[in-house]
Symmetry: C2
Subunit: 359 residues, 2 copies
C-alpha cells in the first residue's frame, strides 16, 4: 500500500482510450458507452448455474470472496451483452466482512449484522477493527483475474464500493429497514459517535476501492444507496464529507471517479465531491439533473428499471429519450437508473446495448 499507481499504469493503458473512460473524462466518443448497474448476478442464467454448482449453502459474501467466482461473475455480462465496462462483482458489505465484522446476507432479506452498532461504546469497539492488506488478498486476486481477460478487448473494469452512510445504515440497524430510521436517529442522538463511525466506514470502504484500482480497475464508483432518505441539510452536514474521504485514497491514483445515489434529487448539487461523473436514478430526467449539478461533470444513467419488463415497444422510446436527454451534459454514459432487477430477461439488455451503440 506504499506505492501509488499512476493512471498510465500498464494495466490501464489498454483501456484509457475506451469509450467509457473517455466519456467519464468528459469526451464524447463516436459511440455512446453503456453498462448496467448490477449487470452481473441474478438476471443471468449462467450466474444462477454457477452459484448452484459452485457453493451450495454459501452466502453471497462468500461467493464475492472466491477470486475465480467473483471474476467469472464479473465477466459474464461483458461477454454476453457486449457492454462497455465490467463492474466488479462484490457487495457493499464486503469491506466490513474483511475487517472482521460479523455480517451475512440473508436470502430475500439482505445484510444482517451480528451485533448492531447502537451505542457510542459499540462505535468505539468497531472502529478498532482494521482492514488489513492481507485480508484484501482475494479482492486483489479477483480484480487481477478479471482485468487479465478484459484487457484482451480493452474493456475497462469499474471498481465498486458502498458509501459510508449506506454502510453505516446497515451497521446501526443490524438489518435492512424502511427509511433507515435507526441510523438517522443515531446521527441526531450521538453526532460525535456518528462522526467516528462514518470516518471509519469511509476508511475501510476507501481502502476496498483503492485496492481494486491498485489491482487494475480503470475507474471507481461509490454507491450511496440510502442517501435519498436524508434531507439535504443533514446530507451536507453529516454525510457528504465522509463520502469525499472515502474517495480520497482513490483520487490520488488518477482514475475517473463516479458518485451515485438513489433518490438523490435533492442533493445533486452536493454530490460533486471532486468526481468526474455523477450517476442519476430514474426519478429525475438527465437534462434536469444536469442543471442541478455543480461543475462540469459527465452523467451516467438513467433508464427506469421498471421499463425492462414492459416489452420492446416501451423500452425503445425510453432508451432513445434517455440518450437524447444525456446530451445536456458534457458527456454521457448510458446506464439504468438503478440495478438490473433479478427477473429481467437478459435478451432485452443485450438489445438495449445494440440500440445504444447504434444511436
Amino acid at each position: 500500500m506504499t506505492t501509488s499507481l499512476p493512471a498510465e499504469h500498464p494495466l490501464r493503458t489498454v483501456t484509457s482510450d475506451s469509450r467509457l473512460i473517455r466519456a467519464y473524462r468528459g469526451e464524447r466518443p463516436d459511440v455512446l458507452p453503456v453498462w448496467f448497474m448490477r449487470q452481473a448476478g441474478r438476471s443471468l442464467p449462467e450466474y444462477r448455474e454457477l452459484r448452484k454448482t459452485a457453493e451450495a449453502g454459501a452466502d453471497m459474501l462468500d461467493t464475492c470472496l472466491v477470486p475465480e467466482l467473483a471474476s467469472e461473475i464479473t465477466l459474464q455480462p461483458v461477454r454476453r451483452h457486449g457492454v462497455d465496462a465490467g463492474i466488479f462483482f462484490s457487495d457493499i458489505m464486503i469491506p466490513l466482512r474483511l475487517a472482521g465484522v460479523d455480517v451475512r446476507i440473508e436470502s430475500g432479506v439482505g445484510p444482517i449484522v451480528g451485533e448492531a452498532v447502537q451505542t457510542p461504546d459499540a462505535v468505539d469497539r468497531i472502529v478498532q477493527l482494521e482492514l488489513t492488506h492481507e485480508a484484501l488478498a482475494p479482492i486483489r486476486e479477483a480484480v487481477a483475474l478479471t482485468v487479465a481477460e478484459l484487457n484482451e478487448t480493452g474493456t475497462p473494469l469499474i471498481g465498486f464500493a458502498g458509501a459510508p452512510f449506506t454502510l453505516a445504515a446497515y451497521l446501526v440497524a443490524g438489518r435492512p429497514t424502511k427509511d433507515h430510521l435507526p441510523v438517522r436517529t443515531f446521527m441526531r442522538r450521538h453526532p460525535e459517535a456518528w462522526s467516528r463511525l462514518a470516518e471509519w466506514a469511509a476508511k475501510i470502504t476507501g481502502e476496498f476501492l483503492r485496492t481494486q484500482v491498485m489491482a487494475g480497475a480503470s475507474a471507481a464508483q461509490l454507491f450511496d444507496s440510502w442517501a435519498g432518505s436524508l434531507s439535504r441539510g443533514q446530507y451536507v452536514e453529516q454525510v457528504v464529507g465522509h463520502s469525499r474521504a472515502a474517495l480520497d485514497p482513490v483520487r490520488e491514483l488518477g482514475v475517473p471517479l463516479v458518485h451515485f445515489g438513489v433518490g438523490a434529487g435533492e442533493i445533486y448539487g452536493d454530490m460533486n465531491i471532486g468526481v468526474d461523473t455523477i450517476g442519476v436514478d430514474w426519478r429525475v430526467p438527465l437534462d434536469e439533473a444536469v442543471q442541478r449539478m455543480q461543475g462540469d461533470v459527465t452523467v451516467q444513467g438513467n433508464l427506469d428499471p421498471a421499463v425492462l419488463a414492459a416489452g420492446w415497444d416501451a423500452i425503445e422510446p425510453a432508451v432513445r429519450d434517455v440518450a437524447e436527454r444525456g446530451r445536456a451534459a458534457r458527456a454521457h454514459v448510458f446506464n439504468l437508473g438503478h440495478g438490473v432487477p433479478p427477473e429481467t430477461d437478459p435478451a432485452q439488455l443485450t438489445r438495449i446495448v445494440e440500440l445504444v451503440h447504434s444511436l
Copy 2:
C-alpha cells in the same frame, strides 16, 4: 348516498372554528395546531393492550372493521396527547377488502393480495367489484361513534384514504415491494389497463373517504405513500388525475382536503389537485417545499420521525425549526414528515404537542 352533506352540517359546526380547520382553510390561529400521522396504533400501550385482549388472531383489517375498536383506537391518542385532530384509524387496503378483494395484512410484512392484478384481464375482473353502501356500514358506524366523543371537545376528525397509485401498487405486486417495480412496469406495459385500474381504485377509495365525511369527519386526507417512486413525468401523465378523481366526491362536500405524498420533492408543484393543504415529508424543509407548490395552500408537516428517539435535546430544536419554517406558508399544521414509528415513546409526542402549542 343521494343527499349531500354541506360543510355546515350540524356534525361539523362544532369543529369549524377549531384550530385545525381554520389552519387548513388558510387562517393562522393563535395556537399552532398539531397532530401526528399514525398517532393511533402501535406506539400506544393502550392500543397494544386493546388488540391483545380484543381479538386474538384477527388481522389489522379486521380490527379496522369493528366500529367500537376503530373508534376507540382513533380516540386514544387524542385523549392522551391532546392533539388537535383525530385521524380515522383505518388502512389503505380497507376499501379493497370492503369491495371484496382478498387482502390481508401479514404482520411484519404488510398487505398481501390473494390474487395479484398482473394482466389486463385481471383488471377487467377487478373493476367489476363494487363498494356498496351496505359494505361501508362499519365505517359509518365507527366514524359516528368517534365524532360523538370528539364533538364534546370540538376536536375535528380527519378522514383517511390511500391514493389510487398506492392502492394499485399493492394490487399489482400482490405484496409490498422495493421501489414498486411491478406497478411501474404495468403502467408502461399496459397503459390502458392501468388507466382502468387506477380509475376503479380512485372510485372505491373516493367512496371510502366520502363515507367518512358524510358520517361526520371534518376534513379528508389522501395518502400517496409511493408517489415518490415515480418520475415527475409519469406522475403527471398517469397518476395525479386519478388522485384528483378520488377527491372529487369529497370535494363537493365542502370540507378541507389534504394531499400527502412520501418522497414527493419532485412533485410538490403538481400535488395541488384542488386541495387546501399539502403534507410534506421530512426530506424537504417546509419553507423550500412551499416555494415549489402551486397556489396558496397550507402546509402540514414535517418533523423527521427519526428525531423522536434521539432525546429531547435533539427534539426541541428540531420542533422549533419546523415551526419556524412553516411560517413561509399561508398557514401551517404541525405534524411529522411520516408516520409515528411503532417504538416511539408516547411521552415524547405529548411533550411535542405541549411545545408546539406554546410556540
